[in-house]
């Protein structure tokens, strides 16, 4: 944990900043010149303490061998706290300095700044105990104090505006406004301190708004748990811009229902979260039990959150990389049966366009930000012309216009190997992460699945063999389905779909050789499709070797 020196210095710093606040308050109230000098010299001392603490933090991080994650979090939190304490100290000096511009000292006394000082002093006192004891309730109270300070600021701001409208004491009122503005910014720093304390308790960065969203979602779902009883595991990781956390009660008692130990809390982009909610509802109508149960959802102006069932089991990815071959075969067979069942149940006689090329174009910016050279320019080799990527895409896009899937099915939309769960006890396949589900071309799911296999960063021969046979079986299953359904353009749409997934997946792949391989495969497929444009599409033959590595 924190070294003694670090703890002591941080305690000193809290004491000094608390004194600085006291002195600043007195100075604003009485305006004695000597008080200002004291404030200034204490600021130097606070700055020094900050430097000492920072050095301590960095030395501990770099010199301690075998440092645990918890210790690292603690040090990071300490550092953030000290930086923000110093800022509060600076704001004190700035607020006090404003008094020199005030001609009429009495005018300041019409406004209630004392409350803000009282709130700051009260919560600063709690910083060290919270850091020591990990009291979540008090950490949250520190975070929420900022709201109180903001409200007081707003009240006084309105009062100042009203006074300004009278047209008197304009200069003095503006100075008063500046003073309040500094006090309001002290509140922002206090919030940063509170969030740093949450980090040291929870072991992860969490914003107070997310915390409130979680609390409201838990309450709305009728759970008995208060936040103090809830335990978080770290962020499960998501590329979709939503934060995901696993939630369970401290004592391991079920929070939701007897068979459920924990649930998943997702918070983030409102559109995505709401899409996921609607899709979960849709899936539970079509295929009850295939997707997690939805317990509750919550919306604010910009964000939304969901509390959904946590599905016990392992991801398909984990099984394909670590499971034994017999188990993997069982799971694959189940997966195929589930996919076929969904396709048959949700099939609608409505032609549907997947727009694979448009999907590439929409993600081109993200691809190029990771791999700036993944775009072919026009080249000539003797009399042979190499078509640039943009032209290739534009031409394939025109071709794709005429290549709608003959029917639609309800697709997963992000059928990655880590969005498929196998529940061994119930012997069933389940799906997660469904915000992209929609009526679509089944080939979209198949191609995403195949490329998510392909891009597993494993290069040992036996694992690669495994990935290759999983790909082959999935492809054959889908192809047989296509034949049965009389889907004549299956192979060319699959070529475009694979080109799309190969190309867009490079944005997640830093290994340059591997991502370059996917980039080349994507272009190869697009060129093949283009070369076939004058022949009937049902004669297009997918070069299947492209799916294997």
């Amino acid at each position: 944990m924190l070294t003694t020196a670090l703890k002591e210095n941080l305690s000193f710093m809290v004491v000094e900043v608390a004194r600085q606040l006291d002195e600043t308050f007195d100075f604003l109230a009485n305006g004695e010149a000597s008080a200002f000098r004291k404030i200034n010299s204490r600021d130097d001392y606070i700055d020094n303490l900050k430097t000492v603490i920072e050095n301590c933090c960095f030395t501990t991080l770099s010199e301690t061998k075998a440092i645990t994650q918890q210790e690292r979090d603690s040090i990071q939190a300490t550092h953030t706290i000290c930086v923000n304490l110093e800022r509060i100290g600076d704001f004190c000096v700035s607020a006090a300095d404003q008094l020199h511009y005030l001609n009429n000292h009495a005018i300041l006394q019409h406004f209630d700044y004392q409350q803000i000082f009282d709130i700051l002093a009260e919560h600063l006192q709690a910083v060290i105990p919270v850091l020591k004891e990990g009291d979540m309730g008090k950490a949250l109270a520190i975070c929420r104090a900022e709201n109180q300070i903001d409200a007081i600021y707003k009240e006084n701001f309105d009062k100042i505006m009203e006074a300004l409208r009278s047209g008197k004491e304009i200069e003095n009122l503006i100075t008063v406004l500046f003073i309040f503005r500094y006090l309001e910014r002290m509140g922002d720093s206090l919030l940063n301190i509170g969030e740093a304390l949450l980090l040291s308790i929870l072991g992860e960065k969490i914003k107070i708004e997310q915390f409130q969203a979680l609390e409201e979602t838990l309450t709305k779902s009728g759970l008995r748990a208060s936040l103090a009883e809830v335990e978080f595991s770290s962020i499960l990781g998501s590329r979709s811009g939503c934060r995901i956390r696993k939630v369970k009660s401290h004592d391991g008692q079920p929070l939701i229902a007897p068979q459920t130990q924990s649930s998943i809390f997702k918070e983030g982009n409102k559109e995505k979260i709401l899409a996921e909610k609607n899709n979960l509802e849709r899936w539970s109508e079509i295929f009850p039990g295939l997707t997690p149960r939805l317990f509750s959802h919550q919306e604010s102006e910009e964000t939304a959150s969901l509390l959904v069932e946590f599905l016990p089991g392992r991801t398909f990815e984990a099984i394909l990389l670590k499971g034994d071959p017999a188990e993997l075969e069982t799971v694959c067979a189940l997966l195929h049966a589930t996919a076929l069942d969904i396709w048959q149940r949700t099939r609608k006689e409505v032609p549907v366009k997947a727009n694979f090329i448009a999907q590439i174009m929409a993600r081109m910016h993200s691809v190029l930000s990771v791999h700036p050279d993944f775009l072919r320019v026009r080249q000539d080799i003797g009399s042979s012309e190499v078509m640039p990527t943009d032209e290739l895409l534009a031409k394939c896009r025109q071709i794709e216009e005429k290549l709608a899937a003959p029917f639609s099915v309800f697709i997963h939309g992000d059928f990655n190997v880590n969005n498929i769960i196998y529940n061994g006890a119930a012997k069933r396949i389940q799906f997660i992460d469904l915000y992209r589900s929609r009526e679509g071309d089944y080939i979209q799911d198949v191609s995403v699945f195949i490329v998510s296999n392909f891009r597993q960063p494993v290069f040992k021969t036996h694992l690669r063999d495994r990935l290759n046979w999983i790909t082959r079986d999935m492809y054959q299953m889908a192809r047989e389905f296509a034949v049965e359904q009389g889907d004549e353009t299956f192979e060319v749409r699959m070529a475009l779909a694979l080109a799309r997934s190969f190309y867009t997946s490079t944005r997640f792949e830093w290994n340059n050789d591997f991502s370059h391989e996917m980039f080349l495969r994507s272009h190869f497929l697009l060129e093949k499709v283009l070369a076939h444009q004058d022949k009937p599409w049902h004669t297009f033959s997918l070069p299947t070797g492209i799916m294997y590595y």
């Binding site: 320019v377 026009r378 080249q379 000539d380 080799i381 003797g382 009399s383 042979s384 190499v386 370059h516 080349l520 495969r521 272009h523 190869f524 060129e527 070069p543």
Partner: protein
Amino acid sequence: MSTKKFDYESLQDAHSIKTYLVSLIDSIEKGRIILKSNGEEMAMRVDDLMKFSVQAKKKDGQNKLSIKLSWSEIKPVIKEERASSMSIGS
């Protein structure tokens, strides 16, 4: 001296590889190989004599065949001075 470079890498099947090779053979026959990238041209005059090498490697199931042509555009300077005109100390 300025350096010009041309770089192209792709995945091809036997048919399209043939197209590229044939267009290179044509260029060699015509005496000029022209390579363009984004409008920028690089022309190479084919020489009477060029180094031609073929290298192949097979390792762990990976195959590699490199065909390389290299030559110099700077001709060796042949000095007009002849050995006979040099004075040989007696």
